[in-house]
């Protein structure tokens, strides 16, 4: 009887442990195959040159720069709004207030809305409503803003990454000890002064973590920018926010599904995927390290 139980237990522990091993080996396998596939094409020139010969040769510089610009505009839009929402949820709203509950629900809903829906929203709201309105009011109907560009793509992406920022900043703000707040209030500081001078400075690393996670998410998503600003190929870098841009993820998608000679450009595709994967991996690693440091510091 005893023996049978032990066998059963060993079986259950074995099967659960093997699923952990399976997941981790899949991660390593994906990374390994992508590194192996790009062993010849990945180089410094690849990162720093323009595509040539109808995108069958050359590098991915415009895609890297396009992604970087998009991510910067996105952070500028998402981080302040996300931080302020998190401040409201932790500092101003009471635990039981219905409004705070609705906001929390909205944030969580925003986090699970499919990314393609953000793309549709960007098209319907930013391009066709705001952009068209701007053209009609400022340019007298001339077509400038009512078409896909890097600004609309970045703003669409900032809505997608808003919940990421809110959740991380909220966690950081909650980790600021109550004693600090109470000490500040007891010394006569007002609530807003306490938040500005005490709470926010001690949660800077949390805000940084949120920003990094948002950048990592934004750099990897393709669906929201499919029809809000990403371009197949551009000979020049975007010069203003009303230009279209090339994007790493979109570049992978286009090269692997829409290009006429998929086989020939396979090394380039692998190398582009490697760049994107390394980018998101490094960003996430930084966020994980920052976060664990933050937790240690508080405890």
């Amino acid at each position: 009887m005893r023996n049978k139980k032990d066998i059963k237990g060993a079986f259950i522990i074995g099967i659960t442990a093997s699923s952990v091993i399976l997941i981790i080996s899949i991660i390593l396998l994906i990374a390994g195959i992508i590194i192996y596939g790009s062993r010849e094409s990945f180089s410094w020139e690849f990162l720093t040159s323009f595509p040539t010969d109808g995108m069958t040769k050359g590098g991915i510089l415009p895609a890297i720069i396009g992604t970087a610009i998009m991510v910067i505009i996105m952070s500028v839009a998402a981080v302040p709004f996300g931080t302020i929402t998190a401040i409201y949820l932790t500092e101003y709203a009471s635990e039981k207030s219905i409004l705070a509950k609705i906001i929390r629900f909205a944030v969580r809903t925003l986090a699970v809305v499919p990314s393609i829906i953000f793309g549709l929203f960007g098209l319907g709201f930013f391009i066709k409503f705001v952009g068209q309105g701007m053209d009609n009011v400022f340019l007298g109907g001339e077509l400038k803003w009512a078409q896909p560009n890097i600004l609309w793509a970045s703003l669409t992406m900032s809505l997608l990454t808003l919940p990421v920022v809110i959740v991380s900043v909220e966690e950081a703000l909650r980790n600021v000890p109550k004693d600090l707040r109470q000490a500040s209030l007891a010394l006569g500081a007002t609530k807003w002064q306490t938040i500005r001078k005490i709470v926010l400075p001690s949660s800077v690393s949390g805000i940084l973590t949120g920003t990094i996670l948002a950048i990592s998410r934004g750099a990897g998503e393709v669906a929201p920018i499919l029809f809000t600003g990403a371009a197949y190929y551009l000979a020049t870098l975007p010069e203003s926010v009303s230009d279209q841009f090339m994007n790493l993820g979109y570049h992978i998608y286009i090269m692997s599904t829409q290009s006429s000679n998929v086989e020939q450009t396979l090394p380039i595709q692998f190398a582009t995927t490697l760049v994107l994967l390394m980018l998101t991996f490094l960003l996430n690693l930084t966020a994980i390290i920052l976060r664990s440091r933050l937790r240690k510091k508080i405890i």
């Binding site: 139980k5 059963k8 237990g9 099967i15 659960t16 442990a17 699923s19 399976l22 997941i23 981790i24 899949i26 991660i27 994906i30 596939g37 709004f81 929402t85 401040i87 409201y88 101003y92 609705i102 906001i103 629900f105 909205a106 809903t109 699970v112 809305v113 499919p114 393609i116 793309g119 549709l120 929203f121 319907g124 709201f125 391009i127 409503f129 077509l143 009512a146 896909p148 809505l159 808003l162 007002t190 609530k191 807003w192 990897g220 998503e221 669906a223 499919l226 029809f227 371009a231 197949y232 279209q244 993820g249 998608y253 692997s256 599904t257 006429s260 595709q269 692998f270 995927t273 994967l277």
Partner: protein
């Protein structure tokens, strides 16, 4: 500046306490009205409304674009003459920019060939089409007059031929395809993710847990386009060699790739639910003589069932709306079949593939937005169920009420 502040405070003081007294009277301890405090709080509250506003706006604006389908029109024609005769555009709107029209013409030459449809390489043929069609007003007028009447009737058919001469927008192949991929993905992802979560929370030591958790959550950071690329280039070839089916990209490959996207979602939430089971449960079970695995399997797992259910719902939501993997790995053929190794076309992939080549204001355009509204409503409801019903149940169960 300073005098202004004093003025404001004085006026505020006038209202709150007309006669300042010394000592801790009720009047003195009352909060003073401060303009900057008031202002900061109001601004922060207003910004906090943004998330709610975004949800509402998404619903409004995605739904707004579908409205042309629902508008009744006296003319009842199903055949779309406008697409067959491109000249009618130029004759009607000569004053508008010629570039946009030139590009519409290229797309129409594609639209006349329905056979090409469903092959992934044909969906976007040139870069110019990505940039085109953002001058919607004239097209929309034409579309409203002539295009929208047949759309309603074709929703309930088995054909998805949005760009033929006689367009049919049957949703069934897309819905069947989406559910097929979702079921395959969840069948693969759920057991692996739940077992892994059980190991992490019940059997792993604290140090091991701190390695496993971030490692598996690293999978969540893989962009879906990377997983899609891996499925398209590596998994598709490998599984075709092993299993020997005919179409290289199919529901199984798409489902397996989406399982990779769903595993971290299900894993994280299940792990949270398992860790939330009170220690007293485990201790009571161990004190009664149960093993570690018996406790894990018969005590912790059942107690966390609602949380696991929520994890599955969110995993389903993730797979359901996944676009890039569906575009790259499912083959994108709108077929109805029970065979998991046939190509399928999911709802989200349909939007992603066809929005770039559609004419603004066209019926097809509105139908794609309608699909988007359906996706949005579906994921919204999944999330709402996971949020309210199941979390409430979990809390009640753990508190023993």
């Amino acid at each position: 500046m300073a005098s202004e502040n004093i003025n404001i405070e004085n006026t505020a003081a006038k209202y709150s306490s007309p006669k300042p007294k010394s000592g801790f009277t009720k009047e003195n301890l009352k909060k003073k009205f401060r303009f900057s405090e008031f202002f900061a709080e109001k601004i922060i509250t207003m910004v906090a409304f943004l998330s709610i506003a975004v949800i509402v706006l998404i619903f409004l604006f995605v739904f707004r674009e579908t409205l042309p389908i629902f508008k009744a029109s006296p003319v009842q024609t199903i055949v779309n003459n406008e697409q067959l005769v491109p000249e009618s555009y130029s004759s009607r709107d000569t004053e508008l920019k010629p570039e946009t029209y030139g590009e519409i013409n290229t797309s129409e030459s594609n639209e006349l060939k329905p056979e090409q449809y469903g092959v992934i390489t044909d969906t976007i043929t040139s870069e110019s089409e990505n940039i085109s069609f953002y001058d919607e007003e004239p097209n929309r007028n034409i579309a409203n007059e002539n295009n929208n009447q047949g759309a309603w009737k074709t929703f309930n058919t088995k054909d998805w031929y949005p760009v033929s001469d006689n367009p049919r927008f049957g949703f069934w192949p897309l819905i069947v395809g989406t559910f097929k991929v979702t079921i395959i993905a969840i069948l693969i992802a759920a057991p692996i993710a739940i077992l892994a979560a059980l190991f992490t929370s019940a059997f792993a030591s604290r140090r091991l847990r701190e390695i496993i958790k971030p490692a598996i959550e690293l999978l969540a950071s893989f962009p879906s386009v990377v997983i899609g690329f891996f499925a398209l280039m590596v998994m598709a070839t490998f599984f075709q060699d092993v299993l020997g089916y005919s179409s290289r990209l199919n529901a199984f490959i798409g489902g397996a790739a989406m399982a990779l996207a769903a595993i971290p979602v299900i894993y994280t939430i299940t792990e949270d639910a398992l860790s939330a089971v009170p220690k007293s449960y485990t201790e009571a079970s161990l004190a009664l003589g149960a093993n570690k695995w018996q406790t894990a399997f018969f005590i912790i797992l059942p107690a966390a069932t609602p949380g696991i259910f929520a994890a599955l719902l969110l995993g389903i939501g993730r797979v359901f709306g996944e676009t890039m993997i569906a575009l790259m790995a499912t083959g994108n053929a709108a077929l109805i079949s029970a065979n998991p190794f046939d190509s399928v076309r999911t709802l989200s992939a349909t939007i992603g593939a066809e929005m770039a080549e559609v004419v603004f204001g066209d019926t097809h355009y509105s139908v794609l937005f309608l699909i988007g509204s359906l996706l949005f409503i579906f994921t919204f409801m999944l999330n709402a169920i996971a949020e309210f019903y199941i979390k409430g149940k979990l809390i009640r169960k753990i508190q023993g009420r």
